[in-house]
């Protein structure tokens, strides 16, 4: 099926990948970051994040769900009456995810 006319499969593919990552990994990380470390159940100095393959894991963990959010939120905003500014919404949502990708890569390279 030729789909030269639309780039939709790219965004849907990223949305899907992000959905899988979010579904399997985000809950345990919320428990670790939001509860276990702040409440002292586990002590952590953050040194682990400097390991190169951990950085790779973090990149995937943080970036892909951003594309999941962008695609889903774009459609949600369109379906709740904001369709007239559809193009602006696309720039804000997908652009936001792209900015997030760059910032994440930059942070991980800095630490």
């Amino acid at each position: 099926m030729s789909t030269e006319k639309t780039s939709e499969p790219l965004w849907w593919g990223l949305f899907s990948a992000g959905g899988v990552v979010a579904a399997f990994l985000v809950p345990i990380h919320i428990i670790l970051v939001g509860f276990a470390v702040p409440l002292g159940w586990i002590t952590d100095s953050g040194a682990l994040y400097r390991v190169w393959w951990v950085k790779l894991y973090l990149f995937v963990l943080i970036v892909l769900p951003l594309y999941h959010w962008a695609h889903r939120f774009y459609f949600t905003l369109n379906d709740t009456g904001l369709k007239p500014i559809s193009k602006l919404l696309a720039v804000l949502c997908y652009g936001g995810a792209i900015v997030g990708t760059i910032v994440t890569a930059w942070v991980l390279l800095q630490i």
Partner: protein
């Protein structure tokens, strides 16, 4: 002892005498084995012959009698009065379609979309009749069989908020029908059903899933659409990453 009765609040719309729909209450006998369609037929025969609505087989195979029953798209031949009794029942025309009169909606858009997906076997090269039929194993038939069960009742279009918001959306039944042919082993016409993979085809769908919930024949159009998304996306990435050797 007086016969038990139940009230139906039915949408009336007579364009020659009113600008907007109204609701008319009818009291009909309550019988254990009656469905909403029986109640409507009683109204038409005994109370008010001016009521207009579609129906035919009264057994859930023709797809004619779809209406909103208490806000839920249903075949009125399959909605039993006893499941609502003693509360009154609201009967309205299927939502997301324009109303022609009373409970009758304009289904032209739906009919157009069924045709757009080219719902027939498309071959790159036809076999001459003398060579016999296109053979198919039971397993190959099993692949697409459930998607052949659609009775064109349009309940899925009434259930789909995306179709309500965007009338250009191809919609569950049309896409499921196109999918049925795309995965039929005898068909070679997937590239002629491109419309499914374009905007207002599968990409408008946000997988609310209500279409499959209301389908009286368990076609599962939601599954057809999501599988089409996977298929289209795989092909798209393949054509980008490996542009040589296209099937």
């Amino acid at each position: 002892m007086a016969e038990p009765t139940i009230t139906l609040n039915v949408t009336r719309y007579r364009p020659e005498q009113e600008r907007a729909p109204t609701t008319q209450a009818y009291t009909v006998p309550f019988k254990q084995d009656w469905v909403v369609l029986d109640a409507l037929n009683h109204i038409k025969d005994q109370i008010d012959g001016t009521l207009s609505y579609r129906w035919s087989c009264r057994m859930g195979v023709c797809g004619s009698c779809g209406m909103m029953v208490n806000g839920v798209p249903k075949l009125t031949c399959a909605a039993f009065l006893r499941d609502y009794y003693p509360q009154a029942i609201l009967v309205e025309p299927l939502v997301n379609f324009p109303i022609i009169r009373d409970l009758v909606i304009d289904m032209s858009d739906f009919m157009d979309k069924l045709k757009i997906v080219k719902p027939w076997i498309i071959r790159k090269e036809e076999k001459p009749v003398s060579e016999g039929e296109y053979l198919q194993t039971p397993a190959q038939l099993e692949e697409f069989h459930q998607f052949t069960q659609c009775i064109n009742c349009m309940l899925c279009y009434a259930a789909c908020p995306v179709y309500g918001l965007e009338p250009k959306f191809l919609g569950p039944a049309a896409i499921a029908l196109g999918y049925r042919y795309n995965i039929d082993s005898r068909d070679q016409g997937k590239d002629q059903r491109e419309i499914i993979g374009n905007h207002d085809g599968i990409w408008d769908c946000t997988f609310v899933g209500e279409c499959s919930v209301v389908c009286p024949k368990h076609v599962d159009p939601a599954a057809a659409i999501q599988r089409s998304k996977v298929d289209t996306t795989k092909n798209w990435f393949q054509s980008i990453l490996m542009p040589w050797g296209q099937r």
